[in-house]
Symmetry: C2
Amino acid sequence: MEELLKISELSEQTGLSAHTLRYYEKHGLIQASTRSEAGYRFYTDSDVRRVQFVKTARNSGFSLDDISQLLSIRVDKESHSCQDVTDITQKKLDQVNAKLAELHSMQHTLELLLESCCGGPENATHCSIIEALDAGVVDKEAFGQARHEST
Amino acid sequence: MEELLKISELSEQTGLSAHTLRYYEKHGLIQASTRSEAGYRFYTDSDVRRVQFVKTARNSGFSLDDISQLLSIRVDKESHSCQDVTDITQKKLDQVNAKLAELHSMQHTLELLLESCCGGPENATHCSIIEALDAGVVDKEAFGQARHEST
DNA sequence: GTTGACCTTAGAGCCGACTCTAAAGTTACA
DNA sequence: TGTAACTTTAGAGTCGGCTCTAAGGTCAAC
Ligand SMILES: [Zn+2]
Ligand SMILES: [Zn+2]
Ligand SMILES: [Zn+2]
Ligand SMILES: [Zn+2]
């Protein structure tokens, strides 16, 4: 028995909103196999599997553009190689690694800033964070610690 | 001698485009101390220092909104505490850490996917990446390795 | 006095991935 | 027959941080 799902049912099954599903369709990622006379979308099991593929790929970090490529491989595996697949995956990993490096550097900077500042209720006249940002020095291993009321 | 810079000169000194400087002004981050009769912006040394503060903060990962707060502390240090500063910084660090966690998870997933696939010129009929995405299984420590032409 | 490099403004466009709206048509059920 | 809960579409809005355009005004050099 071929069970056809309406968009809200597909939405329930996949956890993607009907808006998002229509958005994916508009961008060529998915499609309803059939439409009712009134134009209502109806999805087959195979459609559901495709949507789940998209969702899993999305959760794995792939962009819609990546996924579009992965999908064309998926529907015609014979015409594509494993290398085609790893190329997409590796490129994505490279992007993720680049972004990670950037964020790690920010993390490091912010941690240094936090270590340098007392974080107390004293006024910020000699705050080392403000001073560090003022000095443009944010990548040094140590900036001076501000000492409030040191004798 | 008070040396006044035109916007293109400030742009050169800071490495920020004139467009960006005007954008920052529109958003309340910076301002030209004076204008010529014709309306040209002129920046003082103090303006330059403020712009450099913004730039350094930006490079450290702060959003323009964060920076806006940091700037109001900077111009009136007496009215703010070190804690005000660390609150902003800690909040930003939390955001960065959250994003890092997300990206690390993606990195892990993508690495697993890449390990599982031979990446070779064989056709993708049994590609384990495609299969993993199809199965919705992307977070397991091992998915099956595809073996092309194994005997 | 004319070229060309600058400056001004308001406002549009871009990126990605949604998210939502409005206005209209359809369906299920009482 | 009514009404509530769907569905459809095109298109606009959102986020942040720029980036660019158009149409005009200014300025220095030759
Ligand atoms: Zn302090
Ligand atoms: Zn401090
Ligand atoms: Zn393979
Ligand atoms: Zn493969």
